[in-house]
Point group: C2
Chain length 201, copies 2
């Protein structure tokens, strides 16, 4: 059986848990507390030298890191990822956008506000992340004003990748009220079969 | 013919130019000066709402952004990208690692040192980026001590994605002398057929 090393509050981990649920793939969960340094122990670093969750482990012990790489691997050959080469390029475009322009601003702001003290010097980064995160939300809003889903007019892993931290953006200090198309899209994501909330196993 | 919107000093753009050369795919280059704001004009934002290069445009006007998504799209069905599903997962793992753990530290340090004034407040980010960038180089070094290439023991787009900013890491204040395996791998990359340097068209 697949094993997922994960932290339940992580949106990156949630992407994988949500896809596994929606593909009806059974797996065992090993919780790793990123707040107490469990991703930086010698034991965990032997599994993922980059010291991050989520990490997928196959029965033969092979391992795959990076949430969006795991999504792509799991979704190949399923309705959650297009077969068409151009559409696959678009899926990857949105997933790289998510990891470069969205997650480092919106997810990191959420982490800083939830898990650091009010006087933590890293909070000096919040204003710049607010600006950049709002720019990312603007790009999403523009796309969703014209499209039902991110790629190919059907729900898939690009939607899962972007939903994970967008739907908890308020916890990072982002107000989604001005983004009507994003809010309507989030409702569509939540209405998909076998949807489940972020901290569920 | 394909059109590539690009800035010749960009490592992200170089990835695409190097792959196009090595796949012998002809293209037209439209240079976009990111330093003078040419990626933020209404005209460019109509092409890529996220305001970044490289941007690939097909003959029918369709467009694809995000350097590593472009690499994957161009390489599908060629020897530069494995057909095997697990190996493709590994390729994506390293490309997401590059965009999340490597590029924001090493490439951004290079940008700050080359294109901002000595008293630019953004340079306050440099010490944290030095630490995180060295951690990323350490992950690469560990892998390359045991492997010739990043995935499947053959040269491919994961190598191109990681070479682009690693080989100019010194311009970001990173000393590669301690990383013997990375230096040997860079020599192997440079010895591939049709290799070309970063600012060539």
């Amino acid at each position: 059986m697949l094993r997922l090393y994960d932290f339940l509050d992580s949106g990156n981990g949630y992407k994988v848990r949500l896809l596994l649920m929606q593909l009806a793939i059974p797996y065992e969960l090993t919780e790793v507390d990123i707040l107490s340094g469990q991703t930086r122990t010698p034991e965990f670093l032997a599994r993922n030298p980059n010291g991050r969750i989520p990490l997928l482990e196959l029965e033969d012990g092979s391992r795959l890191a990076e949430s969006n790489a795991i999504l792509f691997f799991l979704a190949e050959g399923t309705p959650m990822l297009a077969q068409d080469r151009w559409q696959r390029g678009q899926v990857l475009q949105w997933m790289f956008f998510e990891q470069y322009s969205h997650e480092p601003n919106i997810a990191t702001s959420r982490f800083l506000l939830r898990h650091t003290a009010a006087d933590d010097p890293r909070r000096a980064l919040l204003p710049a992340k607010k600006t950049a995160g709002e720019a990312a939300l603007g790009v999403m809003e523009g796309h969703l004003c014209r499209h039902t889903w991110f790629v190919g007019e059907r729900y898939g892993i690009a939607d899962i990748a972007l939903y994970a931290y967008t739907h908890v953006a308020d916890e990072g200090g982002f107000d989604l009220q001005p983004y009507a198309a994003i809010r309507a899209w989030m409702d569509r994501v939540r209405s998909q079969p076998s949807h489940k909330p972020i901290t569920s196993r």
